[in-house]
């Protein structure tokens, strides 16, 4: 009785247990199906994700090609290992919490950090963003110590550009900067985020040759990003070194001479066009630009009134002043406007087209031959040549001498200058050309504009008796003697006459006598170009008038077998003979000391 009661009692319970058991069986089945979906159907997707988790591709940066001087032993641009702090946003659990910590750790304001991250907002989250570069070792160890709780902050190493001589040759070498995301998308497509690219100078124009091939390593990492193993490795391939034509000693001397002034000194090897020195002052230290984040300093340089970033040698536009008399003399002889026997009388001034034109020497030079006109830089003589030639002829000769066109030097940003013609005036100012302007152009004034490098190339052309050279900075393939460009269609006898005048200017108490070097036969021409209009200059006191001119000197040596061309421009330097010629003399002397003696010694 008791037991039957129990069994009656139990049957509903058994049913309920049965239902639960079936429910659990179904659940097991459904779960097995779901695991089948995850492990079999979605296998590929999760396998890829697990591979992405466990492996990391690390770029091993190739070092940039080293730049040396012409000897190959003085390194002008080198590479050093440097540490960067980079942020991987993907690893960042809570930016609100970690960004303030990171900025404190790196010594940045939160604002600066945000801006740096903001810059790369469009980049994939796993790409490291450099937030501070060139870390000191102390900073590196402080970051490494917090690796576990700040997995988003990593240390990366990169070979970093380093200029051992700071500002030496800065305008030639150029500087490096991080490209904008826009530039990365358009110009530097093959570059990676955070790469630095050459922005000016050699660094920019030979950028693609200076970039090595980066290496790559695939590493196995744990969840904290710690390297556990390496799966594969491709070593980086550094770019070969580039040998420049610069001569360290001449470049250093040129910059030393310019210190405290504004201007430019260019030294060319006369026969090849090798640029031995190209200095522009004031200058800057390109090392400072490699810091990715010093916008204040950079803006400061950009806005500075003495424009240190401008390469005055190729970007500065000046009136050539009396330097242009070289062109006038050559053109006058070549065109038949004068002969080497032609003399003119200088009485201190002369009248042309109803206007008086003065010579710089108030008392006048008296009767002068061409060579003496060059020697004393007499204005009146060249006014007369100008009147005889006319502006069209003058312009044609100036263009033959390379003025009004880029020299083709391997530097970015070269300016063309200006050789004025009546058509030019009609086109740009919608005015007719006055004959009086031709007279002004005759002594290198008026709208005429040249760069110091153009003057240098022009001087080389004269020194080579009509054979043109292209100034260039890369030694080797580019500077083989066969590369000399075609000559101008002017008889070499013409050049001999002009060179005679230039030699006298330096060696026989002419305006360029301050450039004289014993036993080196320097030939040269001075210039003092007006920086304000002649009407204004007339009203100024004589000392002020002097102060307001740019001082020029251009010349070469030795006279018969020209080796070196030196061009000096000092802005607002006063008289060319007083300011520019002595600087050129120091360069000639150094060149003679270094190269000419060597040659004579080897000959003996």
């Amino acid at each position: 009785m008791k037991s039957s009661q129990i069994y009656q009692d139990f049957s509903p319970i058994q049913n309920r247990v049965q239902i639960v058991t079936i429910l659990i069986e179904v659940l097991f089945l459904v779960l097995a199906l779901y695991y089948w979906k995850v492990q079999i159907l979605d296998y590929k997707k999760y396998w890829k994700m697990s591979e992405a988790n466990r492996t990391r591709e690390v770029i091993i940066r190739a070092s940039r090609g080293v730049l040396t001087d012409r000897g190959g032993s003085v390194i002008l641009a080198d590479n050093q290992g440097a540490f960067n702090a980079s942020l991987i946003r993907e690893n960042c659990k809570n930016p609100k919490e970690s960004y303030p910590r990171i900025s404190r750790l790196l010594g940045l304001t939160e604002d600066e950090l945000e801006k740096r991250i903001e810059k790369y907002a469009g980049q994939p989250l796993f790409k490291p963003i450099v937030v501070k570069d060139n870390l000191i070792l102390d900073e590196v160890s402080r970051i490494e110590a917090r690796k576990a709780d700040l997995p988003e902050l990593v240390i990366e190493t990169e070979p970093r550009r380093f200029y051992p001589f700071q500002s030496l040759g800065a305008h030639v070498i150029g500087y490096m900067q991080e490209p904008s995301p826009e530039e990365l998308r358009t110009v530097y497509k093959d570059r990676r985020l955070g790469d630095l690219v050459g922005k000016t100078g050699i660094e920019a124009i030979y950028d693609s040759r200076l970039v090595g091939v980066d290496g790559k390593a695939v590493e196995v990492v744990d969840s904290l990003g710690r390297r556990m193993d390496e799966l594969s490795r491709v070593e980086p391939n550094p770019a070969p070194k580039l040998r420049l034509t610069l001569d360290y000693d001449l470049q250093a001397k040129a910059e030393e001479l310019l210190t405290g002034r504004e201007g430019s000194i260019i030294v060319l090897e006369a026969k090849t066009g090798d640029v031995l020195a190209l200095a522009s002052f004031p200058t800057f230290d390109p090392n400072k630009f490699i810091n990715r984040f010093t916008p204040e300093e950079w803006l400061g340089l950009l806005k500075s009134p003495d424009t240190p970033l401008i390469n005055r040698a190729i970007q500065g536009l000046y009136s050539p002043g009396s330097i242009f008399k070289i062109v006038m003399a050559s053109g006058g002889l070549a065109s038949g406007a004068i002969t080497d026997q032609t003399t003119f009388f200088c009485g201190g001034s002369a009248e042309f087209y109803g206007h008086p034109f003065s010579c710089w020497l108030e008392g006048g030079h008296g009767a002068l031959s061409l060579t003496n006109a060059i020697r004393y830089s007499c204005n009146v003589y060249f006014y007369n040549i100008a009147r005889r030639m006319g502006i069209e002829e003058i312009a044609a000769v100036a263009q033959k001498f390379g003025l009004g066109a880029k020299t083709g030097i391997d530097l970015p940003g070269e300016k063309e200058g200006l050789v004025p013609t009546p058509e030019w005036k009609k086109k740009t100012r919608n005015a007719t050309w006055y004959p009086g302007e031709t007279i002004s152009v005759g002594i290198g004034q008026g709208p005429l504009q040249v760069t110091p490098l153009q003057i240098s190339a022009m001087t080389a052309l004269v020194a080579n008796r009509g054979i043109r050279v292209r100034p260039h900075l890369l030694r080797g393939e580019d500077s083989s003697p066969g590369k000399q460009e075609a000559g101008v269609s002017i008889q070499s006898g013409v050049f001999e006459k002009v060179i005679e005048g230039m030699w006298r200017s330096v060696n026989e108490q002419g305006t360029g006598q301050a450039a004289r070097v014993d036993n080196f036969n320097v030939c040269g021409k001075t210039g003092s170009s007006q920086t304000v209009s002649s009407e204004k200059a007339e009203k100024m006191a004589p000392q002020m008038k002097q102060k307001k001119t740019h001082a020029w000197f251009t010349g070469f040596a030795p006279r018969d077998n020209p080796q070196v061309v030196v061009t000096v421009l000092v802005e607002f330097g006063g008289m060319g003979g007083a300011t520019a010629a002595p600087l050129a003399q120091r360069i000639f002397a150094l060149y003679q000391d270094k190269y000419d003696r060597q040659k004579t010694a080897s000959r003996n």
Binding site: I13, I24, E25, Y34, W36, Y43, L224
Partner: protein, 363 residues
Amino acid sequence: MIDRKQLREIDWILIGLLLVNSLVGVALIYSSSHYLPGNLFLRQLLWVVISLAVLFLTISIDYKMLLAYSPYILCLFALVLFGLLAFGRTIAGAKSWVRLAFIGGQPSELAKIAVLLVLARVFSEFRRPYLTTGFAVLSAAVVFVPVGLVALQPDLGTAVTFLPLLFACFLLAGLRRKTLILFLILTLAVGLAGWNFLLKDYQKKRLTTLINPSQDPRGSGYHVLQSKIAIGSGGLLGKGYKKGSQSQLKFLPARHTDFIFSVLGEEFGFAGVLLVFFSYFLFLSRIFKTVPKSRDRPGMYIVFMAACLIAFQFLVNVMMIVGLFPIAGIPIPLLSYGGSSILTTFIAVGLVLNVKMRRFANV
């Protein structure tokens, strides 16, 4: 207390299944912690041995006696849990640990056994065909004392695992259709209220990331995502023992505890998962089949509750690690590392064996 006839009735197959699953656990713990100090797999093995001894101790005492003392046992645990809240040290965010000399454990795990016994005793007295509201509230009150204390530690995961005990009793006592519906509505209401007033932010986040784990890969969805990657990348046959990159390189969180099954999925693939599903299913269904074999109502309640307790934790865990359930911090009995959990499961199985071997005994 124990005679030869009863010894012959011991379900050795169930003990065998229990040990097989425990040893699978030890092997997985070795794979997921061999690089950590402390030889966790050896400790687990030691716990299995200790628990086996305790299991035999459990079957030697007639469950009727255990039921008789159950209210006192529960009171004792309630006191211990209360003491923990008052004096316990916070370890891993919760005051759940007790250390006695060289051995440490979580009393909240063992408290489940006490609750189980008390519920079995209370419900066996209930003789109506269907559960009444008054009785339901009364029995719930008994359970909510320890559950509340555990939830305050705060160890929400463990607190939740008490609930299947109560619900198992309700089911067995009989639920009318309308009661079931009422239960569903009540659960929903509690859920809504909890979402708005009770749950902490991190708990809410766990629930939202269930829906979209990749939306915040380093946040709370990270754990689910890494677990899914581990399991999914295991494929059919797995990456091999101790060769799972997700586990060995520590992308997987709580590898030897809550996510031990993910290690299985990664290293042994779908084949391994099916095999463990199968052996666990055999183990569970053997317990469920014991329910109708019980001699009396308390025995049935004991066995059914033990079955539901283990089944609930297993199912919730394997759903949790593939993102079908919020991350609740519920380990898998027998597989996950943890002495208290192993001991509790062995005692529960011991109670099942206890009931089964005494099914022919005369009162």
